[in-house]
């Protein structure tokens, strides 16, 4: 057993304990130093992930391959950027307690455990380690009724999803005889008909993971939780947990259950199509920008799951590229939303952006870039994300899926472009406060990525290709 393979996770866990101890002891406020330490620990972990060898450890419970490295880097990126967005916000809202950064660290660690899971037990523990800090940070603004409601709602429904996952896992163990993904793959490749018990188990596991990525029909919690949670937390919700859960979904379905694809492919097709349609139509009427982003994220998950549903090499590569681009569009958009303050008070209506094009041209320009990218308009990065999943669907012969995808992205362009119209052509009630430096840096960095992706897409495409090949080998 080579425990050193799991060095990134171990280092991150120990760093979290050290930061926790360092934050408790001093009497004064340690939010900023603790956050910086967490970002440092995440960077160190990212370096370790890049240098990680391939193989399995702990008797096959843990796996490291290029797929896991790719998704882990995205998870870490989501965690670190989410924390950066929270720096300024938490100080202004009086939420500057250092436990926030430690909880973000452990949620990211949970995501990494999920991505590296090669056993149903690891899957479950990773999922819990990811979810539990999320419930807490959703309710972090404990004096605000909406935040508490968001935390409670997420907790109750999340517990239900965990129950579904455990039930499905127990059925899979009962009917296939193992919880280990490699041994499940062996048992299922024998070629006989999958037993109904196994299929029911797979369905339960898919339902639980679909809940975590907020795919239709398990999306009902998303708008309320996204609206109620503090804005940087919403940004974090839309990144790290989705990446980890989608990675796990891809690994479970395409790995051990790849040979029984006929059993789950229909489900994934419906989930993907439902998410795209709901994300496109339900967001149209939204006036609150956080609710709008919640529906937008449901739609994006639908496009990403298209890559799983087609169950092919190209599909998986499209999924990986999509998630990488999605993270960087999303964090930029949320940097703008976090910066939305008027007279020191946070505002979150779409109409509050009115006139931003004249009062703060820089922020308005980046927001326009993100909105065009989200809508999938070339030559921005979002277009390429959609291009690769649609391409995979067409190559796999899933014409209906690809058509629905194109049509819904046209519909969703309406509400993305409406934000641009509000910013540049509507009469504002007053200027928003200047965006703090940390948020401007995040906006500029992710904005440049979205603009310049077309010039140099090779590294991400190559990494995604290698990662997809590793999972389907």
């Amino acid at each position: 057993m080579s425990w050193t393979l799991a060095l990134p996770e171990i280092v991150l866990a120990v760093a979290g304990l050290a930061i926790l101890a360092g934050g408790v002891l001093p009497k004064r406020d340690t939010f900023f130093p603790a956050s910086m330490a967490v970002v440092g620990a995440l960077l160190l972990t990212a370096v370790l992930v890049i240098g990680q060898e391939e193989g399995t450890a702990f008797g096959g419970q843990y796996v490291s391959d290029s797929f896991s490295s790719f998704m882990k880097l995205l998870t870490i990126l989501g965690g670190a950027l989410g924390l950066l967005l929270a720096l300024d916000w938490n100080e202004k809202e009086g939420l500057g307690r250092f436990e926030f950064s430690v909880l973000v660290l452990y949620a990211t660690l949970g995501g990494m455990v999920m991505v590296s899971a090669n056993d149903l037990m690891t899957t479950y523990l990773g999922l819990e380690l990811l979810s539990l800090p999320l419930y807490v940070v959703a309710a972090f603004n404990r004096d605000d009724a909406r935040s508490s409601e968001a935390g409670l709602k997420y907790f109750v429904l999340g517990a239900l999803a965990s129950g579904l996952l455990l039930y499905g896992a127990s059925l899979i163990y009962g009917f296939a005889g193992s919880t280990n993904f490699d041994r499940l793959a062996e048992a299922l490749s024998a070629g006989q008909q999958a037993s109904p018990g196994l299929v029911v188990g797979i369905v339960f596991v898919i339902a639980a993971l679909a809940f975590k990525v907020s795919a239709v029909p398990f999306h009902m919690w998303t708008p309320d939780v996204y609206e109620g949670a503090p804005t940087p937390v919403t940004a974090f919700f839309a990144m790290a947990p989705k990446v980890a859960a989608i990675a796990l979904l891809a690994r479970v379905l395409l790995g051990p259950f790849g040979d029984v694809a006929a059993q789950w492919q229909q489900i994934m097709l419906l989930v993907s199509m439902g998410s795209m349609v709901l994300g496109a139509f339900a967001a149209i009427g939204q006036r609150n920008i956080k609710r709008l982003m919640a529906y937008s994220s449901i739609g994006h998950v639908g496009y990403a799951l298209m890559g799983v549903a087609v169950a092919s090499d190209e599909g998986l590569r499209g999924l990986l590229v999509y998630m990488a681009i999605y993270i960087l569009m999303n964090v930029g958009t949320f940097a703008v939303i976090v910066a939305m303050r008027r007279g020191g008070r946070a505002v979150e209506q779409v109409d509050d952006l009115a006139g931003l094009g004249r009062t703060d041209p820089g922020t308005a320009m980046w927001m326009a870039v993100f909105m065009f990218s989200m809508a999938g308009i070339p030559p921005l990065a979002g277009f390429f994300g959609k291009l690769y999943v649609f391409l995979a669907a067409v190559q796999g012969g899933f014409w209906v899926l690809a058509t629905v995808g194109v049509l819904t992205s046209v519909v969703s362009a309406y509400y993305y472009l409406r934000i641009v119209k509000v910013m540049y052509f509507d009469q504002g009630v007053g200027a928003l406060d200047r965006a703090p430096a940390s948020l401007s840096v995040v906006m500029a960095g992710t904005g440049l990525f979205n603009l310049l992706f077309i010039l140099w897409p090779a590294p991400i495409l190559a990494a995604a290709g290698a990662a997809a090949a590793a999972l389907l080998a």
Binding site: W3, A6, A13, L20, A57, F58, G59, Q61, Y62, R97, E99, F100, V102, L103, Y106, L109, V113, M121, T122, L125, G126, E128, L129, L132, P133, Y135, V136, A139, F140, R142, G151, L171, G174, G177, S178, T179, S195, P196, G197, V200
Partner: protein, 232 residues
């Protein structure tokens, strides 16, 4: 024979009490039935030869979890009649979903067959040679499953951090025990040689004045509140 009888007796009570947990009207009764269910499950573990799990079940679930439930149910004034208001409206939908799930489960159980070599396929078979099962669990928990064990530990740590973050409020006005001040207080302890048989009053041994009395020049002899504020 006796084992089989005990198994069916405990299993029957377990199922009956589990049914009562769901159906009983009074939530306190539900929790009490839950405790009964835990005890019967522990007995089933004992019959199966897993005495460690049986004891853990009693200690953790009955001793901690169920008592906590009982506390919460009794302390929170939950109006259960109001909670049942929507029941009539949602009952048909719930019944449909439940019926579908039940049918699926019936299919699943219909297809259930035991593998011929189920004994050998077990993930962690009991080691031979007089190893107690606490030791057997310990052997694999800290070796093969150390990764999962530590991950579970982190989950509990996060739960603890979360509970503290969401509930702890620093109140500025509260008085706390200041041990340094307590120890550093001068003149509180006197050593005297006391002849046996003499009363304190006749010897004229006085107690040292409390801080309030030191501040107030006119001391009251009886009925003092005695313990300097906060120095409990």
């Amino acid at each position: 024979m006796i084992t089989a009888f005990a198994f069916y007796a405990f299993a029957a009570v377990l199922i009956a009490s589990a049914a009562m947990v769901v159906t009983s009207r009074n939530p306190v009764h539900s929790v009490l039935f839950l405790i009964l269910a835990f005890f019967n499950a522990a007995a089933l573990f004992l019959i199966a030869g897993a005495e460690f799990l049986a004891m853990i079940l009693v200690i953790v679930y009955v001793g901690a979890v169920a008592v906590l439930f009982l506390f919460v149910v009794m302390m929170l004034d939950v109006d259960f009649t109001r909670m049942r208001e929507g029941f009539q409206r949602y009952a048909p939908l719930g019944a449909v979903v439940g019926a579908i799930l039940f049918l699926e489960l019936a299919f699943v159980i219909g297809a259930w067959t035991f593998a011929g070599d189920a004994e050998e396929l077990r993930l962690s078979p009991m080691p031979a040679g007089g190893v107690s099962n606490a030791e057997a669990i310990g052997r694999i928990l800290y070796t093969d499953y150390v990764y999962l064990f530590q991950a579970a530990g982190l989950v509990l740590l996060v739960a603890m951090i979360g509970a503290i973050v969401l509930t702890l409020r620093e109140r500025p006005g509260t008085r706390r025990q200041d041990i340094a001040a307590q120890i550093g207080r001068a003149g509180t302890v006197n050593l005297r040689a006391v002849p046996s048989g003499a009363g304190l009053a006749s010897l004229g041994i006085e107690r040292p004045p409390s801080p309030e009395e030191e501040r107030r020049p006119a001391p009251v002899a009886v009925g003092h509140d005695g313990h300097g504020g906060g120095h409990h």
